[in-house]
């Protein structure tokens, strides 16, 4: 076993020994924030779910706790913060590369209400 492999094995063992720390705010959330950097193969626990991390997730960024189909809402704080712009698997990094803003929806949703100036 070369040193890279042994480091990876140690990392896998550590990952199995203790889950990496993430924080989900609301029981409805389908993403959690990484409280430390996550690597592929790490294990995270949130909202009673145990998820294997599939892609690296930087500190403070979001990881998917469940599969999110393209077009579905990305939910944080129990609120839709955007919509998936591609299919997202549980354990994937969730960020601008696979999430679209809802801001245009904001405008159309409020046009009728706010139209009277």
């Amino acid at each position: 076993m070369d040193s890279d492999e042994s480091a990876a094995a140690a990392r896998t063992a550590a990952a199995h020994a203790s889950p990496r720390r993430v924080l989900a705010v609301d029981p409805r959330d389908n993403v959690a924030n990484a409280l430390e950097e996550l690597g592929a193969g790490d294990r995270v626990e949130a909202l009673g779910r145990v998820i294997a991390v599939r892609t690296p997730v930087p500190l403070g960024h979001k990881v998917a706790l469940a599969p999110i189909a393209a077009g579905d809402a990305v939910v944080k704080y129990g609120q839709a913060i955007g919509r998936a712009s591609a299919d997202i698997a549980a354990g994937e990094h969730v960020h601008a590369h696979n999430v679209a803003s809802l801001f245009d929806d904001w405008l159309s949703a409020h046009e009728s209400l706010a139209g009277r100036r």
């Binding site: 705010v25 704080y77 960020h95 405008l107």
Partner: protein, 384 residues
Amino acid sequence: MTPLLGYRRRDGRFGVRNHVLVLSTVTCANRVVQRIGFEFPEVVCIEQAAGCMSLDDDREITHRMLRGLARNPNVGAVCFVGLGCEQTPARLLRDEIGDLKPAESVAIQSCGSSDQAIERVRSFVVEASRTLAAQQREPFDAADLVIATKCGASDWTSALASNPAVGVVSDRVVRAGGISMMGESAGWFGADHVLLERARDERVREDILRVLRRLYDSALHRGKRIDEANPSPGNMAGGLTTLTEKALGGVRKSGESPIEGILAPGEAPLGRGLWLLDNPSLDPASVAGMAAAGAQLVLFTTGRGTPIGSPICPVIKICASAAGSKRLAAHIDVDITDIVEAGASIASGADRIESLMHAVASGERTRAEAMGHREFVMPQVGVL
């Protein structure tokens, strides 16, 4: 919890500080105000970047702001200093204070020179300082607390820990019968549905929508979109993906209380409970708006850390970011990094914030006060 001890004002409100305020009403009077500041470092002196030649909307903001700052319960006595021909005369402002507190106005054009104006301000300041020094703090009830909540130099921990903890404190203040205020209207886009759902009634709901629509249109008139700078590159690097996500994290500092109304810069709440302030996001302009609305103190969350304070209100810095708390440790009043680092509860963070808030309300100095931070920017129509 420390009992609350403040300075009783003639209208029944309580100040948590007992400032003598010397307030310039126009740039032309700044030198006089500056010289008083050099001579009396304990006197709060505020200069103006403008104060004249404003279109009516900005003139109205300036007028209400100057009056509001002077009426703040932390101000025990006030002297307005003007030139004499500006849009909002010092004399008018002095008259609007009535007998609420010792007040004076000085116009340079009526004095003969700026030196003679300084002499008149000096006499007032000496006399007022003597009067205020004799005043004792008295116990006051939590129902008489007036706080404002603010976030600045935020990072991902602001949304997850410090804003929710401040939101819990805000709800406690409201439940006790006090007043809490949240500003930064341009920062609500994307979370406006949360605020609209909490509007006390249909009229408040429409008022909030009108403010948002005006901000949206004013950006559009300049060929801009309100979301083009938001989230910033720094926000994105820190893990914030969308404007909605950023805004939802920001409004959490207002807790979950119903919203009683939305106020223009310099307007004061019309009753108890939670109020929104239609004021800028630029930190010192936002905090200035809170002071003019009558806030006794400001709960200010930060991730990256910021030193700013206020000439009128103690500003309490709250940080849940290990990196931020380390980087600007000297400026952090309440360190709640254990919420993120060690799984401490939001409620335990709220307890610590509330405890320091009571101590500060009763006289303990904040880091910003100890370091002399008194930043001030007048809110203007064009400042987001």
